[in-house]
Amino acid sequence: MKIDHAQPLEYSTDQNQLNILGFWIFLGAEIMLFATLFTAYFTLSHRTGSGPTPAEIFEITPVLIETFVLLTSSFTIGLGIHAMRLGRKNAMVSFFAITLLLGLVFLGVEVFEFMHYYHVGATYQTSAFTAALMTTLGTHGGHVTLGLFWGTFIIIQVIKRGLTPQTANKAFIFSLYWHFLDVVWIFIFSFIYLKGMM
């Protein structure tokens, strides 16, 4: 495995470059996935059957907390990657850990939000609107959950193996994933929650 030291660590081998390009293409597919979910949501959001409308069930407080937490986590993972570029392993691990903690808080609030929907009579089976809402949120939440595990594994590997081309590559790709989830959330926040509450 040739290592090109002129490049940042995460780009320093051929395989690393392949991994990063491959992951960008994967994100392209993810964009289509969420675009399809959004299309489904916009098509069905007015079709509430006998169930509640968006405005009746959305609550601003948990959504704001979720947004704040996730945006911050996107910032902290950026700091983590910055630390990684500087070769400061401990700082990087700390920022990654903060990111994952924020992710966990996000997930906790989202679980609370789902329980709230259940209590006000909006379950997955209630209407086309609730199904589309929960599938979209759930797909995003599922991605975050997977990210928590993935990120933890990467932290363990960085601690055990140090900053190698492999671990740096994984960490960088994970940061792309995390930023992507943040962007998706901004769309969810604007076009599902804000639009629904107006």
């Binding site: 007015h46 509430t48 059957g49």
Partner: protein, 308 residues
């Protein structure tokens, strides 16, 4: 123009010959919409046949002329990158053909989506045609009549079919009067037809809808307005009124013969219509249309028809 028609007629003859001389239903139109569609079909068959012949001719020429056995052993085929003029022709001619066909297609779209040509001034006969597994229910709200699996229509009068379904998506199709359209559970689609000649026509559901799909047909009888009025009167004298109970029973999956009732099921089980219907509004594209559609639907309306 004359040449074109001569060509079309000969193509028509060829198709008829292939089919054993019986006219094919779609190419034997009995109403203005089907006529328009048949002429589009014949026109496109004609143009397309020319393309196929040209391609085959070039292919045959090339194969005969440049086959290896026809050339000396030391012949080395040249390296040719391409030629802008040739490629421009290969793009240009198809573009012209497609542009012409697009023009015809767009024009026909507006024709088949509005009242039949020559019938614009007349008040149409509105028939609600709804499907259930695996039957057709025809409601004549003005006449106060409902039939199952058969359709009586007057000739020389525009017909407006309002289509919807109590179940899977079906497609209402009377080939000799015009092309089909879907009947779906949560919206009403409109199909404009008219019959020029009295006669018996085949009608069916063309969209696969499960086990009984093959037999999901109905008979269409076109007759003069006078005969039609007579039939309406006769039904009112002889048929039983349709009741909600009776109708619920009719909806159960299975096949039924032909049936006749007075009154329509629209009174107790209305069609899933909306005050503003996307159908008639051709100015919206599909995206905003579904959007419109769902907005107008509202949930009040929806609970309504989800209960049947």
């Amino acid at each position: 123009m004359k040449k074109k028609w001569a060509f079309l007629t000969s193509m028509m003859a060829l198709v008829l010959l292939l089919s054993g001389c019986e006219p094919l239903l779609v190419l034997d139109p009995k109403g203005p919409q089907a006529e328009r569609q048949a002429s589009d079909i014949m026109l496109s068959i004609g143009i397309m046949a020319v393309i196929v012949v040209v391609v085959m001719a070039i292919l045959a020429y090339v194969l005969i002329k440049y086959r290896a056995s026809n050339q000396s052993d030391d012949y080395e085929p040249p390296h040719i990158e391409g030629n802008h003029i040739v490629e421009a022709i290969c793009v240009g001619v198809p573009v012209l053909i497609v542009a012409y066909l697009s023009f015809v297609s767009v024009k026909s779209n507006y024709i088949v989506e509005s009242a039949p040509v020559g019938y614009e001034d007349q008040e149409p006969l509105v028939v609600y045609a709804s499907s259930s597994d695996w039957k057709w229910h025809f409601s004549y709200p003005e006449e106060g009549i409902e039939t199952v699996n058969y359709l009586y229509i007057p000739t020389d009068r525009p017909l407006e079919f309002k289509l919807y379904s109590y179940g899977p998506i079906t497609s209402f199709w009377i080939p000799q009067l015009g092309g089909q359209k879907y009947a779906m559970a949560d919206m009403v689609t409109t199909l404009h037809l008219a019959a020029d000649e009295p006669g018996e026509y085949m009608g069916r559901n063309a969209n696969f809808s499960g086990k009984g799909f093959a037999e999901n047909t109905f008979n269409v009888t076109a007759m003069s307005q006078a005969d039609f009025d007579e039939w309406v009167e006769e039904v009112h004298e002889t048929a039983e009124p349709i009741t909600e109970n009776e109708f619920e029973k009719l909806l159960e999956p299975g096949h039924l013969g032909q049936m006749t009732f007075t009154g329509t099921h629209l009174e107790f089980s209305p069609a899933p219509e909306h005050e503003h219907h996307a159908e008639s509004d051709t100015e919206v594209d599909s995206e905003s249309e579904t959007h419109d559609h769902s907005q107008h639907e509202g949930h009040a309306e929806h609970t309504d028809h989800s209960s049947h």
